[in-house]
C-alpha cells in the first residue's frame, strides 16, 4: 500500500505541479502589478482572452488523447467565421442559421478528417495538414479574399454580451464547453474509449471497441468546436475574416501539452488543458501590462511549453 500512496501522491503532485507554477506566476504578476493585473475586471478579461483558445483546446485534447492531432482547426475557425458573417447580414436570415451553419460546417470537416484517419489509414498529421490547406482555400473563396462585414446587432452580441453586466458570454461558453468536455472524457463510456484507443489501439479493437467510430467522433467534436470558435470570433470582431485563425491550432496544442496530455495519446486530464489555456492567456495579458515586448512574450511562451513537457517527462520517469 505504501507504493499506492507514494505513486498516487506523485501523480497528484505532477498534476498539481503545473497548477502550482501557474498560481505562482499569477501571484508574481499580481504582486508586480496590483493596480492593473490584479483587478477583478482584468482577471475576468484574462479568462475571456483564454476562451477561444480554450474551446479549441478542449477539442484538441480529445483528439490528442485518442492518439491523433488536428491541424485543421485554425482554418476551420476562418471558414466558420466567413460562413457565420455571410449569414448574419441584417434582414437576410435568422440568427439560428448564422449560429448553426458554421458549427455544422466545422463538424463536417472534422468528420471527413476522422473518416480519412480511420478508414483511409492516413496519419492524422497528414490528413489534417491537407484539410488545413484545403479549408483555408475554401474560406478565401467563400469570402472572395476579403473580410465579410455588416452583421446584425444580435450577432454581435453573441460574443460581446455580458451576464449580469460582469461576466462576458465568452467566459460562459468556455466554461460550458469545458464542463461538457470534462464530463464526456471523465464520465462517459465514449470518453473511456478515447483513452483506450489512444493507449493501445490494437487492444481496444480486440476488446470490441469500434475504433473507427471513436476516431470519427473526436475529430467531429474538434471540428464542431472549431466551427463554434470561428462563429464566436466573427461575432467578436464583427466580421468574417478568411485569414483569421492562423496558427490557432498551435496555441491549442500548446495549451493541451502544457496541461500534461501526452502527445502519444492515452494520457491526460481535462483540468490540465484548462490550466494550459489560462496559462497562455495570463502570460500574454500580464506581460502586456508589464510592457514586455510581444517579441519577448513569444520566447517566454516557448520556454513554458518546453519546460512544462520537460518536467512532465522527468516526473513520469521517476514515477
Amino acid at each position: 500500500m505504501a507504493m499506492a500512496t507514494g505513486g498516487r501522491s506523485w501523480a497528484v503532485l505532477r498534476d498539481l505541479g503545473i497548477l502550482l507554477v501557474f498560481l505562482a506566476v499569477v501571484g508574481v504578476l499580481m504582486a508586480l502589478s496590483p493596480q492593473a493585473f490584479a483587478k477583478p475586471a482584468n482577471l475576468i478579461n484574462v479568462v475571456k482572452q483564454a476562451s477561444i483558445n480554450g474551446v479549441l483546446a478542449v477539442g484538441m485534447m480529445l483528439v490528442i488523447i485518442s492518439g491523433g492531432i488536428d491541424l485543421s482547426i485554425g482554418s476551420i475557425v476562418a471558414l466558420a467565421g466567413v460562413i457565420a458573417a455571410s449569414l448574419a447580414h441584417p434582414g437576410e436570415h435568422s440568427l439560428a442559421l448564422a449560429v448553426a451553419a458554421p458549427v455544422a460546417a466545422g463538424a463536417v470537416v472534422g468528420a471527413l478528417n476522422g473518416a480519412s484517419v480511420a478508414y483511409g489509414g492516413i496519419p492524422p498529421f497528414i490528413v489534417t495538414l491537407a484539410s488545413m490547406t484545403i479549408v483555408r482555400g475554401l474560406a478565401l473563396i467563400a469570402a472572395h479574399g476579403m473580410p465579410v462585414f455588416n452583421v446584425t446587432k444580435a450577432f454581435e452580441a453573441l460574443a460581446g454580451g455580458f451576464v449580469a453586466n460582469t461576466v462576458p458570454y465568452l467566459v460562459i461558453y468556455f466554461a460550458v464547453v469545458t464542463a461538457v468536455g470534462a464530463f464526456v472524457l471523465g464520465k462517459t463510456v465514449f470518453g473511456r474509449r478515447i483513452y483506450a484507443v489512444g493507449g493501445n489501439e490494437v487492444a481496444a479493437a480486440v476488446s470490441g471497441i469500434d475504433v473507427h467510430a471513436v476516431k470519427i467522433g473526436v475529430y467531429t467534436i474538434s471540428g464542431a468546436l472549431a466551427g463554434f470558435a470561428g462563429l464566436v470570433l466573427a461575432s467578436r470582431t464583427i466580421s468574417g475574416n478568411p485569414t483569421s485563425g492562423q496558427a490557432y491550432e498551435m496555441d491549442a496544442i500548446a495549451a493541451v501539452i502544457i496541461g500534461g496530455v501526452s502527445m502519444s495519446g492515452g494520457v491526460g486530464k481535462w483540468y490540465g488543458t484548462v490550466i494550459g489555456a489560462l496559462f497562455i492567456a495570463v502570460i500574454g495579458n500580464g506581460l502586456d501590462i508589464l510592457n514586455v515586448s510581444s517579441y519577448y512574450q513569444l520566447i517566454i511562451k516557448g520556454l513554458i511549453i518546453y519546460f512544462a513537457v520537460l518536467f512532465d517527462i522527468k516526473g513520469k520517469r521517476r514515477g
Binding site: M3, F190, Y195, G208, G266
Partner: protein
C-alpha cells in the same frame, strides 16, 4: 600511465580458485519505498549454466537489470573476475563482458536483421571510414556468417517486421552471442518459441558453455531448468529462497522454494460432462495461413490446439474472433449460423479471445487496472453511456479478489504489474463480459507457477459453469493436462485430433511436424 595501474595483478591470477566469474553481493533495491530486493547474492562460475528462478515479482528481472546497469542498486556490490564493477548502462555492461537477451524483445522493426544485430556498432566501409559510411554489405555478410555458425536459418537482409516472434528471439540470441560475452543473461528465452527452436537454443547454450561462457538462465519451465542448468538460485519476494546444484534438487523442492507453499498438482483437471454443442466451425480459411479448419466445441469442454509456431493456430482463433477477416468458412454459435466480421460481432455472440500477446493486443498499458478490467464490458455495464465510478470500482474489486490479482490498488497502472497479474487483468476484463465461449491463446506464457495454477483453476471453474474453452498453447504438458481433446495444426490445417486417453507428446509432435504437399 599511473603507477597504480602498472602494479595491478595480471589477469590470470585474479581468477579465484573456485572459478567464480561473476558475483553479486548484498544487493538491495527498492522502488518508491517498496523493497524489491533485500540482500540478494548471486554467484556465477565460469562456464556454467545458472538458472535463476522464482515467481513473477520475485525480483529476478530487477536483479539482472541491476547487473546490466539498467537500474542502480541501493546497496551491494558486483564483482566480475574478482574486480568490483558498477555498470551505469547496458553499453558498459556489454563492454564488461555481459550480454543480455531481454524478455521483451526490442528490435527496430523496420530495420533488417543485420542492421539489428549490429545496432550501435555499425560496421563502417573501410574506404569511407572517415565519413562513417555504413557498410551494409559487410554487415549482411558477417551476420550471415554468424547465423550460419549458429545454424539459424534466417536471411540477414529480411526486415525484422517480417519475422515471427520466435525468429526475432533467435536474432536477439545471435546478437548477444556476437558480442563475445563472458556471461549471457537470458530472460525467459523460450517463452515465445516452440520445441524445435528450443533445441536450437539449447545447442547454442551448450556451445557457449563449452567455450567457457557462463549463462544466467531465467525461466519458469521446470523441465528446461533441470535439463540444462548446472546450478540454481531461487528468489522469493525479493530475497534468496534457496538453491544449489541442479542434481541435488527436484521439481517439488524447487516449486516449494519458489512459492513457499506446497502445490499439489500443477494441472488440476476435474472431469466435466460435456453438454450441447455451442460452436461449430467449418472450412474456416484465412489466406494461406489458415486452410479449411473445422471443429466443434461443446459446453463444459476444454479443446486444446497444438502446433508449432507458424502452424496457424493464432491466425485460426483470430479469424474466428473477427480480428482477421476470414476468407471462407461457416461459423455456428449455439446452432445458429453467424457472420463474424469484427471482434464486436464475436463479443455480441458471447465469444471472448484472450490474445497471445497481452502487451500488444490485450492491455492498455497507459491505463489503470480498473480501466482495463471494465473496458470490454463498459457498454454492457453502463447502458446509458455514463460511467458510475462506484459500480466500476465494485466490479474491479470483485474481479481482483476472484482472480487474486496482486496490485497495489485498483488504480495502479497495469504497466506496473508482473506478467502473471497482467494476464489475470486480461482474463478479468473478458470474464466481466460473461462470455459463453472463451478462447485462450497462450494464456500462461511467461508467467509464474502460482499464477499459472490460478489460471488453470479458473479454467476448471469456468467449464464447471458450463462455459466452453478453446486453449491454444505451445506447452504440450499444459495442453495434455487440461484439455479434453486436442487438435493439432500444421501448415494452417488440422492434421490430427486426439481424445484424452490417446494423449502423448510423441503423437502430438508427429502431427505437428506433418508436412503438406499444398
Amino acid at each position: 600511465m599511473y603507477p597504480s595501474r602498472r602494479s595491478e595483478i595480471p589477469e590470470r591470477r585474479r581468477e579465484r580458485v573456485d572459478g567464480v566469474l561473476l558475483e553479486m553481493r548484498g544487493i538491495c533495491k527498492s522502488f518508491g519505498g517498496v523493497p524489491v530486493l533485500t540482500d540478494v547474492g548471486l554467484e556465477i562460475r565460469r562456464g556454467e549454466v545458472h538458472a535463476l528462478v522464482g515467481e513473477n515479482g520475485a525480483g529476478k528481472s530487477t536483479l539482472v537489470k541491476i547487473l546490466m546497469g539498467i537500474h542502480p542498486a541501493d546497496a551491494g556490490e558486483i564483482l566480475v573476475e574478482g574486480r568490483p564493477v558498477a555498470f551505469r548502462n547496458p553499453r558498459e555492461a556489454i563492454h564488461g563482458g555481459i550480454a543480455m537477451i531481454h524478455q521483451e524483445l526490442s528490435p527496430v522493426l523496420d530495420m533488417e536483421v543485420a542492421e539489428n544485430v549490429f545496432l550501435g556498432r555499425e560496421l563502417r566501409a573501410r574506404r569511407w571510414a572517415w565519413l562513417s559510411v555504413v557498410d551494409r554489405r559487410r554487415m549482411r555478410r558477417e551476420c550471415q556468417a554468424l547465423l550460419d555458425s549458429l545454424s539459424i536459418p534466417i536471411d540477414p537482409a529480411a526486415t525484422m517486421r517480417s519475422l515471427s516472434v520466435a525468429e526475432m528471439q533467435l536474432v536477439e540470441i545471435a546478437k548477444a552471442i556476437s558480442h563475445s560475452p563472458k556471461v549471457v543473461v537470458m530472460d525467459e528465452p523460450t517463452s515465445a518459441i516452440t520445441e524445435r527452436e528450443v533445441e536450437i537454443l539449447f545447442a547454442q547454450i551448450a556451445a557457449l558453455r563449452a567455450r567457457g561462457v557462463s549463462v544466467v538462465y531465467i525461466s519458469h519451465k521446470m523441465a528446461e531448468i533441470f535439463r540444462i542448468s548446472d546450478r540454481i538460485t531461487v528468489l522469493r519476494d525479493g530475497a534468496l529462497a534457496g538453491g544449489g546444484e541442479a542434481r541435488s534438487l527436484d521439481q517439488d523442492a524447487l516449486i516449494r522454494m519458489m512459492v513457499g507453499r506446497e502445490i499439489k498438482e500443477l494441472f488440476p483437471k476435474e472431469p466435466v460432462e460435456p453438454g450441447e454443442e455451442v460452436l461449430s466451425v467449418k472450412g474456416l480459411s484465412w489466406g494461406r495461413r489458415v486452410r479449411e479448419v473445422g471443429f466443434s466445441l461443446r459446453r463444459g469442454e476444454i479443446l486444446g490446439i497444438a502446433g508449432l509456431v507458424g502452424a496457424g493456430r493464432s491466425e485460426t482463433v483470430e479469424a474466428l474472433f473477427g480480428v482477421r477477416r476470414a476468407s471462407a468458412g461457416q461459423v455456428r454459435v449455439g446452432g445458429v449460423p453467424r457472420r463474424i466480421r469484427s471482434p464486436r460481432d464475436a463479443i455480441a455472440r458471447g465469444i471472448a479471445l484472450i490474445t497471445e500477446d497481452r502487451k500488444l493486443q490485450g492491455l492498455n498499458l497507459k491505463g489503470t487496472v480498473e480501466q482495463n478490467i471494465s473496458l470490454v464490458a463498459l457498454g454492457k455495464l453502463f447502458r446509458d453511456g455514463v460511467i458510475r465510478r462506484r459500480t466500476e470500482r465494485a466490479v474491479a474489486d470483485e474481479y481482483m479478489r476472484r482472480l487474486r490479482i496482486k496490485a497495489f490498488s485498483r488504480s495502479a497502472l497495469v504497466a506496473s504489474l508482473s506478467g502473471g497479474n497482467q494476464q489475470k487483468v486480461v482474463l478479468a476484463k473478458w470474464l466481466l463480459a460473461e462470455p459463453e465461449i472463451i478462447i485462450l491463446d497462450e494464456p500462461t506464457r511467461g508467467i509464474d507457477v502460482g499464477a499459472k495454477r490460478d489460471i488453470y483453476l479458473l479454467m476448471g471453474e469456468l467449464v464447471r459453469q458450463g462455459k466452453a474453452i478453446v486453449l491454444v498453447s505451445s506447452e504440450i504438458p499444459e495442453l495434455m493436462g487440461l484439455s479434453d481433446r486436442i487438435l493439432v495444426m500444421a501448415g494452417g490445417r488440422i492434421t490430427g485430433e486426439l481424445q484424452r486417453p490417446e494423449f502423448s507428446q510423441e503423437r502430438i509432435m508427429r502431427f505437428a511436424s506433418q508436412v503438406h504437399g499444398g
